[in-house]
């Protein structure tokens, strides 16, 4: 098989993994020679037709697999073309792409060929060629192969910048049902192992400056959303726990896309729950950068996201007691809670108000989205000029164009009046709505 076909097959099977090079660590090449550097904020080199960032050469070592996970097109019972990269071949491809500035590095995952140890060894070989023969200092993300010998995982971790073990599905039941060869243990054991090795390596580094670094960019994980019945609340709690317990850098979500027919899976005409995935990322963002707790975003009473409004705006309209916030006095944390004020504009407000009092005209310059923020803030004790506080209007201005048109499609015109009445917060209890558009949201 020629390399074009190999690349095409092994990219196609790796494409559902989410990769991101934003790592918080940077390293340059010049001192050590060789090639490659790391930029802590990450660099995206292109955007694919699906709008997702391309920063790494994201491929599988092989799509041969001895396991039979139901949701995966590489499962052994699936009749597809199989292939495998030679370590030298893949290392060369990485370097040639890197020199041309196509990529930031390599994201290497794999099906399980022969057994977990053998697979892991192939990956180690590839990374060793990159690191030692090509003296490559760029970014490498390696998937830990569940079930591989800890010694091998450790070797892999010393070569990679980031490692991940995918938790695959949001609950043990679902995992048992759909990935019978993977147990909860085989996922959480390597995750714990990686966490301990990172902690160990950080300790060693404070003693010996040149101690080898174990996955300096930390570990991440990913789960499939929508193939199984867990609620958004359940998923959010789970990821909050993963951040805390395993010190993960990122939890990624990937909307389930039906590729295979199986009575245990949603049918083939199931629409990928993209909006739900989007909401989960928004909530994740709120937890990581806006100091929200999971239980402030969802709870047992509202276990799922409102499709029509983002979680931050949703929180704001459900907490009128918190507002309005005085721009010239509010703390950073309080500013962050205002719809239309983001991390950067909050920082700018704090800096600019040291020099002079701010009014509404100034806020625009600082990047505040007044269309949303004006309902929730005061400037020197004053409200926005001519502000009409009607919940109907507030809600509309909090919804994006897309959300609004979706809302209009979902309800018949006669029901549009509901818009006014449902202002009794919490707004719009949605789960009962039976519209085909929305079904793709509710798995």
């Amino acid at each position: 098989m020629d390399i074009f076909e190999k690349l095409s097959i092994l990219t196609d099977s790796a494409k559902y993994d989410v990769a991101c090079t934003s790592s918080g660590c940077s390293q340059t090449s010049s001192a050590s020679g060789g090639i490659g550097s790391k930029v802590s904020a990450g660099i995206c080199h292109s955007f694919a037709a699906d709008g997702r960032c391309i920063s790494l050469l994201k491929v599988l070592m092989t799509n041969i697999c001895v396991y039979d996970c139901k949701y995966c097109s590489n499962r052994k019972s699936n009749d597809i073309k199989r292939t495998i990269f030679l370590p030298e071949e893949l290392a060369d491809l990485t370097i040639q792409f890197y020199r041309r500035n196509y990529i930031e590095g390599l994201f290497l995952s794999s099906g399980v060929v022969k057994n977990p140890d053998y697979t892991c060894e192939l990956m180690i070989k590839t990374l060793s060629i990159l690191r030692y023969t090509h003296r490559f200092n760029g970014y490498i993300h390696a998937k830990a192969i569940p079930g591989a010998d800890p010694k091998l995982l450790r070797q892999l971790g010393l070569l990679a910048d980031r490692m991940s073990v995918n938790i695959e599905l949001p609950s043990q039941n679902s995992l048992q049902l759909l990935a019978p060869d993977k147990s909860k243990n085989s996922i959480f054991t390597p995750m714990g192992f990686i966490k301990e090795n990172i902690a160990e390596s950080t300790k060693e580094l404070t003693v010996y400056k040149n101690a080898p670094r174990f996955v300096p960019a930390g570990q991440s994980t990913q789960m499939i959303i929508g193939a199984t019945p867990e609620t958004d609340n359940h998923i959010l709690r789970l990821s909050e726990n993963l951040y805390k317990k395993y010190k993960l850098k990122r939890v990624f979500f990937s909307a389930y896309i039906p590729v295979l027919e199986d009575k245990l899976l949603p049918s083939l005409d199931f629409k990928a729950p993209l909006l739900r995935e989007h909401r989960l990322y928004q909530a994740d963002w709120l937890m990581r950068f806006y100091k929200f707790r999971a239980d402030e975003i969802l709870d047992d009473k509202t276990p799922n996201f409102n499709p029509f409004i983002d979680p931050k705006c949703n929180w704001a309209i459900n907490h009128p007691e918190f507002f309005p916030v005085e721009i010239n006095k509010a703390s950073y944390e309080e500013l962050l809670r205002v719809p239309g004020i983001g991390v950067r504009s909050a920082q700018k407000i704090i800096a600019a108000r040291r020099c002079s009092y701010l009014d509404f005209g100034d806020l625009k310059k600082l990047g505040v989205v007044l269309k949303r923020a004006k309902y929730f803030i005061l400037c020197r004790g004053k409200k926005f000029d001519g502000l009409i506080i009607e919940k109907n209007i507030i809600l509309q201005s909090l919804m994006s164009k897309q959300e609004l048109s979706m809302y209009r499609d979902a309800f018949l015109p006669s029901q549009l009046d509901l818009f006014k009445e449902t202002m009794q917060l919490p707004i719009m209890s949605l789960p009962n709505v039976q519209s085909s558009r929305l079904l793709s949201f509710r798995a």
Binding site: S29, I35, D50, R52, F97, R99, N101, Y102, A352, R354
Partner: protein, 250 residues
């Protein structure tokens, strides 16, 4: 500081930062605000009287020192970067910023609600944003071991973009050609140098280069998830104006 007079005179200078600082020197010495400051690099027919200001490194050095000491180091960097932006009449804006800075001192860079400061910072941020875009989207082609890329930026991004590649690939030789500003940056033997260049012709790709280009296209097309095709999102994140030089769109 408020007794500056507006004068119907145009300063012209050599387009360098030192040259601009000499314009500032004259303006402060004569307590006048010129009608415009223009670079000889972009000559325009002028109706008003022109005053050609020679670049004098000693004068420029004095102005640099006073900006650092009487305003701040941040303000100095902001001014230095501002000259590389594509902001129309940036020199006049920079001069205004300096007059304001001598009044307010180091607070100036936090006065984000002031119009002059706001405009200057936004122009400089735009320059840095574009420089970052080029770190992402530049595509090199290899010609016998030499890497060549061409760009067509709005701001003068080379001084910000090229060092990134020099430290990333210290052992390579590369050239980045800037079509807008008619300049090329050459990196060889661990040294970066900048030249003016009138005509820039990029050679055709050879067989080996075409091979890797095709592999990249293969990857680019395979990695997209068909069920998620989203041109709007793609266009927002990767503006069309960059694409005419990106391998995957050729």
């Amino acid at each position: 500081m408020n007794n500056f007079k507006r004068q119907n005179i145009i300063y012209s200078y050599d387009g360098t930062f030192d040259g601009f600082l000499c314009c500032a020197f004259e303006s402060f010495l004569r307590k006048e605000i010129p009608a415009d400051i223009i670079s000889e690099k972009a000559p325009q027919p002028a109706l008003l009287e022109q005053f050609n200001i020679e670049t004098d490194f000693e004068k420029a050095g004095r102005v640099k020192k006073s900006i650092r000491e009487k305003i701040s180091l941040d303000a100095f960097f902001l001014l230095r970067d501002a000259l590389f932006t594509d902001f129309p009449e940036k020199e006049m804006l920079m001069l205004e910023f300096m007059r304001l800075g001598y009044k307010t001192g180091s607070a100036i860079t936090s006065m984000l609600s002031n119009n002059t400061v706001d405009k200057l910072i936004k122009a400089v941020n735009y320059l840095h944003r574009e420089a970052l875009r080029y770190k992402e989207f530049i595509r090199f082609s290899e010609y016998d071991g030499l890497l060549i890329a061409s760009i067509k930026p709005r701001n003068f991004v080379l001084p910000y973009t090229a060092p990134h590649f020099a430290q990333r690939m210290p052992e390579e030789k590369f050239i980045i050609a800037d079509e807008t500003n008619k300049a090329v940056c050459v990196y060889e033997k661990r040294k970066l140098s900048l030249f003016d260049a009138k005509d820039i012709t990029i050679p055709k790709a050879d067989e080996r280069e075409a091979f890797y280009r095709n592999l990249w296209k293969e990857f680019y097309n395979s990695v997209a998830i068909k069920e998620r095709i989203n041109p709007k999102c793609q266009n927002n994140l990767l503006p069309k104006r960059y694409r005419d030089r990106m391998t995957e769109f050729l």
